[in-house]
Symmetry: C2
Subunit: 297 residues, 2 copies
């Protein structure tokens, strides 16, 4: 856990992508009273208008390069697949306006590729980029879904490199702490492995389970007999397909490694069941139950 | 859906196993006022005493053969692994007391093997056995966990054979309907396939996921970053290991078939991700989301 840093009020925050993640970040910072002015930017004017109506942002600018010109901090909360284009517009805006103070951070679910992208696009200014990932969210999306308490007591992982400015990390840490989040730092590679295990693999398994069943004969009738357990296991299969395609493609190697590990596990269970090996089955089930009960305690 | 049958009050109900499933059955029938006297039986006197204190049963008898001698209906709610021994004691008790009226039913999660067992153990009286499975439960167990509304609007599947007495099916249907349940009939083989898909496979996947992760380095730290999605996917990995070993061994073939089908699905997803095939990934995710959203609507 990083030390608690006294939040320093900042003047201008520019938030690119004012949906659930970006919108909740704004609302939390406004509630904490640590930001003077928030400028929204993004692809959809309808979304930005909605965000302004909801007092998530104070003003907006459809032109990202223009929106960032006076920013002290730029917060990028767009899907991973849109990150490169957005970074390029930010870099162009900072350059043309001569803004050499802005700290840039993001909220993407995988970090190594985002960092590589930032190093390439921001080049000499990449030391002011701090990669971040809030472990929070709901299945909802858009400004309507945003709320000030989303990050309360949730973990946020920052993955600074050896070249990242310590001051930039402090600013981003202070902002996240002002939202109520618990900030930790780790290297991007470790982040991507941890998230592949606890989030990306479970999503693949849930999507795969529903997809595997939907091709069975008589599936309409089969689903009528599904109980609470099935609903819980498959809840995350209702997540946004585009976002998850982007996460998969951005964190491919660690996810493939976890999938391989999981296939080995399934093979072991299959073989134990095929052999009627009740002792092996109960050993696995007991271990799993103990671990899960301990973890959720 | 079976027609609604007017519940006929019965005199003596004998319930073997007075935990969550058996206890809730008793409480619901008492609430509906359709049973005169309930005798509990089972392995643990402490459980039976507790059940009597909670007014789940009116009396109890540790000797199953004795407990069933005046029964109009015998309800067996013990783990699948204990079913054979219990059936043998019931058969002995009915024979020695000359009880030729008792309808026997069970609540086990797999049906084909239970039916085969009943055919063997009850022999000439097997026509009075009606295999059943309530799709209901919680992670809790024991008489303390029982409650009268557990079966309200839940589905109960009965799997009578061509030899099962129509009257016996009517009695069991009427009792379940009195608990508030929606009763359906299907053949045992279909039941076992449907449950392998919607319940048994998801349990295997959840147990496997936790077990697969627990052997990773640094797992204590990894679990700290698990969010709500992980909690939901793995909730059923906290289920009772003995009960699930029994279910696996009792419904081995349909579960193996579903596991094979799921392994093929995972292989497809693995190959798509390895090839960086974003179109294939989004197609699978979209289908899964649509199916899941439609099903939970």
């Amino acid at each position: 856990m990083t030390e608690i840093i006294k939040p320093v009020a900042i003047g201008n925050l520019c938030v690119i992508g004012t949906g659930l993640i970006g919108g909740s970040f704004c609302l939390a910072l406004k509630q904490a009273g640590v930001v003077e002015h928030i400028t929204g930017a993004g692809r959809s004017e309808e979304t930005l208008q909605k965000a302004q109506q909801l007092n998530i942002i104070d003003s907006y600018d459809m032109d990202i390069a223009n929106a960032v010109k006076d920013a002290d901090v730029v917060f990028v909360s767009v899907p991973l697949g849109a990150m490169q284009a957005v970074f390029e517009k930010i870099a162009a805006g900072l350059k043309s306006s001569g803004n050499q103070k802005a700290v840039i951070t993001d909220a993407g679910s995988s970090k190594l590729q985002v960092q590589q992208l930032a190093d390439k696009v921001f080049a000499d200014s990449a030391f002011r980029f701090v990669a971040g990932h809030p472990i929070a969210g709901t299945e909802e999306s858009g400004p309507d879904a945003a709320f000030a308490d989303l990050y309360q007591d949730r973990r946020v992982i920052l993955t600074p490199t050896d070249n990242t400015s310590t001051d930039a990390v402090k600013v981003v840490t202070a902002l996240w702490q002002a939202t109520g989040a618990l900030v930790e730092t780790m290297d991007a590679e470790r982040h991507d492995k941890v998230l592949a295990a606890t989030s990306h693999l479970p999503h693949m398994l849930a999507f795969g389970l529903v997809h595997c069943l939907e091709n069975m004969d008589d599936i309409e009738n089969i689903f009528r007999f599904a109980a609470g357990g099935f609903r819980d296991v498959t809840r995350i299969a209702s997540s946004d397909p585009t976002m998850w395609r982007d996460i998969c493609l951005n964190n491919r190697k660690p996810i493939l490694e976890m999938m391989q590990r999981y296939r080995d596990e399934l093979d072991m269970l299959y073989n134990a069941l095929e052999a009627g090996d009740g002792e092996k089955l109960i050993e696995v089930f007991q271990h799993a139950k103990q671990t899960r009960d301990k973890f959720t305690h």
